[in-house]
Symmetry: C2
Subunit: 126 residues, 2 copies
């Protein structure tokens, strides 16, 4: 209901050296409270070589689950699982054709991000 003026922290026994700065930063972070978990979810999804490979593979065009599994050298079950994770967050689309299921990238945007981030890594090495 009411917004307390003093921010009470569970670690309040520990000295806080720049209370005002800390309070200000906390307030700013609070504004991003909606976005941050979403962003973290995206990064969690990307933080796995198997899924990165899936994205890069599908950048070449759609593939059935079985062929993705071959690309990954992984069981079909594990592959299907990873595809589902990517699809659940809306980054992949699928298409049924008889018994087969074909997956493809939902958009190019994610790929652009990947490439941008790869560039960052390369710059840092230099």
């Amino acid at each position: 209901m009411t917004t307390p003026k003093v921010i009470v922290s569970p670690v309040c026994e520990v000295t806080c050296f720049e209370q005002e700065k800390v309070a200000r930063i906390k307030a700013e972070l609070a504004q991003e409270e909606q976005q941050l978990p979403r962003l973290a979810e995206l990064y969690k999804l990307l933080g796995n070589t198997t899924r990165l490979k899936i994205l890069l593979a599908l950048a070449q065009g759609e593939l059935c689950v079985c062929d993705v599994a071959h690309v990954l050298n992984l069981t079909v079950a594990a592959t299907s699982h990873q595809l589902k994770l990517l699809r659940d967050q809306g980054w992949l689309a699928m298409r049924n054709d008889g018994k087969m299921v074909y997956y493809r990238l939902q958009s190019e945007a994610l790929l652009q991000v990947l490439k941008g981030d790869l560039r960052l890594l390369e710059e840092r090495l230099a």
Copy 2:
């Protein structure tokens, strides 16, 4: 010892529908074999709201461990641990001043990436 010419897959009993395409994609992915784990490492690091908050907090300027802990509402030990992870991968720099240790962003580049990726998320919502 010897490199086999034929790539043997552990899932070779499963039908592969587009062998050539799969082989081509595997070859292309093999070229990125150096970069992909690095990229995944970066994303793993970013795939955690605590660490994202640290990066955004330090975007405002350097902070001592203790103050970062206050911003996060986390124990100093846990905070120190997360700071170390970010520092080990070279994204943070630190400075000693007596007993205090101040952390700061190593460069603005990572922040730019964060903002770019946030933009992607926002576009997708629209």
